[in-house]
Subunit: 451 residues, 2 copies
């Protein structure tokens, strides 16, 4: 069942991981080790959120620091998940991350964490979500009409469907756990991309995704960010592996972190306060009266915490609201997001690699139908190449040059905003993405190169 | 020569002043006293910049605090100069401020400070600027073609013109001093509005407009803001009159000041960093390669000071560059500004008044062709009235409802951004302009009313 990719005659197994590492902690290390045990891969690659993460927040330390962590603990190469997918719900996030792994052309297996850790049931449910049998869509529409939010309507529709087809009802709990929801979307997009990548899941250990308290040395990333906010460095040291701890501390000492969501107060509030309701309606997901709430509360909230509390209703989670604030800041329209989600990521941008990873990149360069961007400085050259070749019958790449350009410019935008949030203002002076920073490590001898 | 306005049979003289009071200092008090001595008015009104001033900066304390200062030292009523005129060059600033005074329908005299203090010569030069004789425009165009900035080209064109008509060459110095340049524009706009208001000028005492050092108890507002930045409260006390000092201190204690330009770092840099060059080209005054400079330097400057130093060239003053940053932040287009400058201010918005001022407001309400907005809460009601009456043959007001609405919404926008800059974040929770705050003083017993 497992597909192999042939490199110069040999067969290899390449493990793909979808990560945020915000920051890299003991739970991530556990997951990584278990995944390697399960697959025994020749190479491991990760696709990682850039400077903004799926919770609709800037990452606590930037993508280059987090790439160092990934390489230190087992990734051979790290690709950036384009910004426009980082800050979407489970579906959009999966579209981008599965897209990057699939489009490398060499990943054979994906392993993701899961509360249920039952790939068969996940596959079953995902099958329903993808194939959308008539009976299911009728029930779904009924629940949507009743005013349920989409995730809830979906949950109850599947529950009804599964029950009437004699599935065990307890499987429905999958639709409530964040990792399983993501897992369903990964499976869904593997199907949509027609990918032969083999999915696997392993049980998550320790605290749940959103837990804010720490009960063991396996704390959630949310809890760890709270510990950082409280400047409890001694506790932090217990919850993240050694090299991760050193990288975090070095970033903080260098004035490059921690970066908190609250730092965006003026940026976000000024942006919304200068938009009228029609401007807001052009933004992805802002509709059905939501524009009134954002319009009014942005003008009556003293900070982002206050704004979020004002905006909160049963129907919207805090993560969804924070993502909406990011969509507004970056003027992301419905149309633009739909294009990205129907076309997938248009490039494979390298954030860092080790010696083994370098071999893998050469292979990807040969096999992928999407351009590898080894350093950001080459993005324009690649764009010109795509433009010139787009109508060639035997063209090397499938990328649409216009979408390619939009996606990568969004990455630059995200970094140019992120750099305003570094505690040390001097770091806002450089366009971090254009400085060709890339992390190259050799065995344990880690260094940062600007080539 | 002096026009009088008849109120219920009597004739009165109403002095109009154009002010920023950022903050109100000894020099302002001197000017106010001298103006009253000169005119001996029955009433004194001031049109004052709102929360942003002509140097392209947020005011050091907000417009309500500065209104209190104006009322404490002799103004009977204070009108807000609409935001869209506050942040323009001398021409646009004069268009708005002269417009407000003229459109009250009751101001008989304007007195302004001047380096030259020779109203005859100012009138002469202003005549040339307004009538634009052919000989003058030919020279002007020649200098513009040679690449001179407009103020310089104008200066040399007038110099040539005056010389060839046997004017004394030293009069040209008027075109270099900021108060005289403003004075020329006031005279120009009095002509353009066909106003019968009598202009006067009196010599300025003490430091020049832009002086950053303090040589006497008459320091410039710039020097005073620097002293505030250095927290030299003892020195501040010597440079501003007593009540002004008390108001400033009370604002600071209340967390409503001081507000400095640098506080806009994230707001301005994030705004420009998310604009491309075509977006920048839509902004008033951004053209001829300026878009490249703003695009590139916004992404490579760590703060506003750094950005301004990078942007600075001989051709642009810091004030002009700061105004450009404000235009960008508020998306002010060439077309929009041109409309405002051809139509003038569409309303008379009251920031505060005393008992005498209240009589005056009743009179204005009777005589003016433009609506008085006594509290911001009435703006929409007035808009609906304007809309309903715009095609009536004997309509009460000349305001264009669309322009009226745009102008007042810009005032609200400006206040909603300004409130994000208050040192105490809680003050950002209210829409200050919609809270109907208005300053009403009775004799010396000052109070703030929310009616």
């Amino acid at each position: 069942m497992i597909t192999y990719t042939s490199i110069s005659g040999e067969t290899v197994r390449v493990l793909g991981l979808i990560v945020e590492y915000n920051p890299f902690h003991n739970g991530h290390l556990y997951h990584l080790k278990k995944s390697v045990e399960l697959i025994n891969p020749d190479y491991t690659v990760a696709v990682m959120s850039g400077n903004f993460v799926q919770r609709g927040e800037p990452a606590i330390v930037d993508k280059f620091a987090r790439t160092k962590m990934a390489l230190a603990y087992g990734a051979d190469a790290v690709f950036e998940l384009p910004f426009v997918y980082c800050i979407q719900d489970a579906g959009g996030f999966a579209c981008g991350s599965v897209g990057v792994l699939h489009r490398t052309g060499i990943v054979t297996d994906i392993v993701f964490g899961s509360e249920s850790s039952d790939i068969n049931i996940l596959n079953e449910i995902s099958g329903i979500l993808s194939s959308q049998p008539h009976e299911y869509t009728v029930i779904l529409k009924k629940y949507l009409k009743e005013g349920l939010s989409f995730p809830n309507a979906r949950k109850y529709a599947i529950l009804d469907y599964l029950t009437s087809h004699n599935f065990p009802v307890e499987d429905i709990r999958l639709l409530e756990k964040s990792n399983d929801i993501l897992g369903l979307e990964y499976l869904n997009y593997l199907k949509q991309y027609g990918s032969s990548i083999q999915p696997h899941c392993i049980a998550r250990e320790g605290s749940a995704y959103n837990d804010e308290t720490v009960t063991s040395r396996l704390a959630s990333a949310t809890a760890i960010r709270n510990i950082i906010k409280e400047e409890n460095i001694a506790f932090l040291k217990e919850l993240v592996p050694e090299i991760s701890f050193e990288i975090i501390l070095s970033e903080f000492e260098n004035g490059k972190g921690p970066v908190f969501f609250e730092y965006m107060r003026e940026i976000i509030l000024s942006k919304i306060r200068l938009m009228d309701k029609n401007d807001l309606l052009t933004i992805y997901g802002i509709k059905e009266g939501l524009e009134d709430r954002f319009y009014n509360y942005s003008r009556r909230s003293m900070d982002l915490d206050c704004l979020l509390k004002n905006l909160k209703t049963k129907r919207f989670t805090y993560s969804r609201l924070k993502r909406a604030l990011i969509h507004i800041l970056f003027n992301l329209s419905e149309k633009e997001i739909k294009t990205y989600n129907s076309q997938g990521p248009q490039y494979l941008r390298v954030l860092g690699f080790n010696k083994k990873g370098q071999e893998l990149l050469s292979l990807i360069k040969k096999k992928s139908r999407y351009p590898l961007i080894p350093t950001a400085s080459q993005y324009y050259q690649i764009y010109k190449y795509l433009l010139k070749n787009q109508n060639e019958p035997y063209k090397k790449y499938d990328s649409d040059p216009t979408i390619y350009m939009k996606q990568i410019n969004r990455d630059f935008d995200a970094s140019n905003i992120y750099s305003l949030l570094y505690p040390k203002k001097e770091h806002a002076m450089f366009e971090p993405d254009k400085k060709n920073q890339i992390i190259i490590t050799e065995d344990k001898d880690e260094k940062t190169s600007h080539y």
